[in-house]
Amino acid sequence: MTDAEPENLSRFHVLVAGGGNAGLCAAITAARSGVSVCVVEAAPRAWRGGNTRHTRNMRVAHEEGNGILTGPYPVDEYMDDLMRVTDGQTNLELAELTINASQELWDFLAEQGVHYQPSLGGTLSLGRTNAFFLGGGRSMLNALYRTAESLGVTFFYDTKVVSLDIENGFFESCEVVSQWQSDQPETRKLEARAFIAAAGGFEANIEWLKEAWGPAAENFLIRGTPYNRGAVLKQLLNAGVASVGDAKQCHAVAIDGRAPKFDGGIVTRLDCVPFGVVLNANGQRFYDEGEDFWPKRYAIWGRLIAAQPDQVGHVIIDSKSIELFMPSVFPPLQADSLEQLAVEMGIDSTAVSQTVNQFNQACRGSNFDHTVHDDCHTEALEPPKSHWARPIDTPPYYAYTLRPGITFTYLGVKVDKDARMIMHNGSTSGNLFAAGEIMAGNVLGQGYLAGIGMTIGSVFGRIAGSTAAAIVRN
């Protein structure tokens, strides 16, 4: 199988492109049914596992709580939630399949060595619906890697898939390059009887993002791995695989503007928007900061900021609110007057004072309570602030800069319930499979439900692994 025939050729039964959650679930499932499997992972070992290394939980349906999950989350409720966030933009068959199969994931992952913990501080609202990994996504991944290694799966790190040889929707082989970031890249060919694409979306490919978003995409920060550049996705689309979703659909949130360009992960999130006002580069407000609880709104703010001049926003809060939200990884700017704060933020101080004064005068209601939709709102202000509106008048004042942070993109390959890719002409591929982000758009036409990214990856990873192994054995 792995005998390196004419120099640089290796053969496996199943080739998995991408070593994140989806790829590992596929590799483990295939290996367990006795076929030879290799995983080609673009990142060096220390960075393996793509966006999965940044995750913390997975949304799973269950009939009753289990000591860690605090209560039941029936399939129907999960389905309702999905329909609500996607506004019905989903493939119903695949959505039902995903949610039904999510019931098995707790046990499946536990068998692969994954442990769980109660929902983390600051995420109480997910304690019933989402299974949190003990130690986070990287710990979860390490367990999957250990299991896969013990099953004999071969890993090629620091190796990316560069081109696919696909004849009429049938995978023959692919070309991969190892040590591709060094001056001595090594090209080789890998043959396999089935190909599983689990190489994530294209969120780290700024050029591709620019095709959809225009030059604004230059200012986007990528919350996860720099390795998800969509090379596999593009090859597949070029080889005649049908696509789902459009390139502009993605999960985008507002994050701390000082976050690194890539891999800033969870710590760069800011939860203070509902407690203050958000101004754009011109010192103007542009959206209702108190429309709803932050966990229900944070995913629209990425787009809101992306639409502002220079793709930047500035939250201003005062000392009344500084301890009401999860601590930020970078300290806020701080000043004793709004004018001084504006100087530090680098925006026009007259505009800032004017906007804040207008806002302060429009504040009504006095029963501030950040745990409910309280009565603190603005009157005759455009845009309004519907809840948690309190005058910003108690120094010191604080400010954070916000930028759009892209979590992952939804444009992907179209698949059926066996995780097989569907071709442009409507036929089903014989041996091309997909799992994870690269096909999440089948289920998530738009919107997002916390924890469903991992669910889709594990469910379709397992399906892809077992169907691929089955066609190999036949």
């Binding site: 109660p118 130690g135 986070g136 390490n142 367990a143 969870i266």
Partner: protein
């Protein structure tokens, strides 16, 4: 009903944070925004109770850390990530710094730097002094006489001298250690009274090394593959040590209460406990030395002060010489062996406040504070 042990409040001058403290504050700041490791051990929940961390806070957290390695492998911000989060290494370094920060008398703080060399020198000097002392103060016929009959040891060194010397140095060490731990306890701020329940909780957690298992994932001290080796070796060491302590106590009782003089017969509690304990105190430290050698780089305190290794060799030397004395006490080697053994034990006692020995008490104090504040937090 809540029984409480009141703890007196004292005010501690605020010192400027050390580099290790500032680095720990920085890294814990990232953890506080992340919290993925919340379930791994006591460090993270304890950190989350503090929005602004100070130097003494991180000293406390460092002593809660058991160096299990889990958060190193689990951290998405570990090097090569630019945030360069290395909690276990920072904590290991800070733990050793804390011992120096609170040592009594403070002038001896430098002993913690290059601790290995200090401990080795103290041991060598102490053994040499006993040898010379014996040769000068006893006549050769006694020194090279064998003796397993009652009182034989005390012909080499009179009992009162032995008891007086060792009693005094032991007492000194206990006082010094208590003063150090007390200073550590108060530096993180007084919290009123600690309940018996917290004490019990801390004792259980210490006795079982509860936080050495990555929250259930297992200890990853030597590699990413979880293993129980460090825990087992530590149990041998700790319980071996306790048995040896019990042996010494029973010897003291035999002497003063029952008027029987050492050496004691093989079936006496003193010999039985001492033998089992001594064997544990060889297997354990040897095991710890081995896992220490395999310890992954990311867990190591940098700079290395040689503290662990020195302490482990000291324990091994104590138990090996003790057991040899037991086996060879009927031969002419007894006198010299006694000198060597007493020399080593003396060095062990005198260096207790100035080496790794104190980690147990700092750890216990930290666990107690943790149990206490978690109980308060839940209430």
């Amino acid at each position: 009903m809540k029984t409480s042990i009141p703890i007196k409040e004292i005010s501690v001058p605020k010192a400027a944070p050390s580099n290790a403290q500032s680095e720990a504050v920085r890294q814990m700041g990232v953890c506080n925004a992340c919290r993925y490791c919340e379930g791994l051990c006591a460090v993270f929940p304890a950190m989350e109770l503090r929005r602004q961390l100070t130097g003494p806070d991180v000293d406390y957290l460092a002593n809660l850390c058991h160096s299990c390695g889990a958060c190193h492998f689990d951290c998405q911000y570990a090097q090569p990530h630019e945030f360069a989060i290395e909690i276990p290494a920072v904590m290991a370094n800070l733990r050793e710094e804390t011992y120096a920060r609170h040592v009594w008398p403070g002038a001896l703080a430098p002993v913690f730097e290059r601790n290995g060399i200090w401990i080795a020198s103290i041991t060598a000097i102490s053994v040499a002094l006993f040898l010379v002392g014996f040769i000068v103060f006893t006549d050769a016929s006694v020194l090279f006489a064998s003796g397993s009959e009652e009182g034989a040891f005390y012909r080499v060194m009179p009992h009162n001298a032995m008891a007086g010397l060792f009693g005094a140095v032991f007492l000194y060490s206990i006082v010094a250690i208590c003063l150090g731990v007390r200073s550590f306890w108060h530096s993180t701020g007084s919290q009123g009274s600690v309940s018996w329940r917290s004490l019990w909780q801390a004792s259980k957690n210490a006795a079982t090394l509860r936080y050495l298992d990555g929250g259930g994932m297992g200890c990853m001290h030597e590699s990413e593959e979880p293993s129980n080796r460090k825990r087992i070796a530590h149990h041998f060491t700790f319980y071996g040590f306790l048995l040896c302590l019990a042996s010494t106590t029973s010897g003291t009782l035999m002497h003063y209460v029952f008027g029987v003089q050492a050496p004691y017969p093989w079936w006496s509690p003193t010999v039985v406990l001492g033998t089992i304990g001594g064997i544990g105190l060889i297997i354990g430290p040897v095991g710890l030395l081995r896992v220490k050698r395999e310890q992954i780089d990311a867990l190591k305190a940098k700079p290395s002060r040689g503290m662990d290794v020195a302490f482990l060799y000291m324990l091994i030397a104590t138990s090996v010489t003790g057991l040899l004395l037991l086996v060879l006490r009927a031969t002419p080697a007894m006198g010299l062996l006694l000198a060597v053994h007493l020399g080593v034990v003396f060095a062990l006692f005198i260096s207790m406040p100035y080496g790794k020995f104190v980690h147990g008490l700092y750890r216990y104090a930290a666990l107690m504070r943790h149990a206490h504040e978690q109980a308060q937090h839940k209430a």
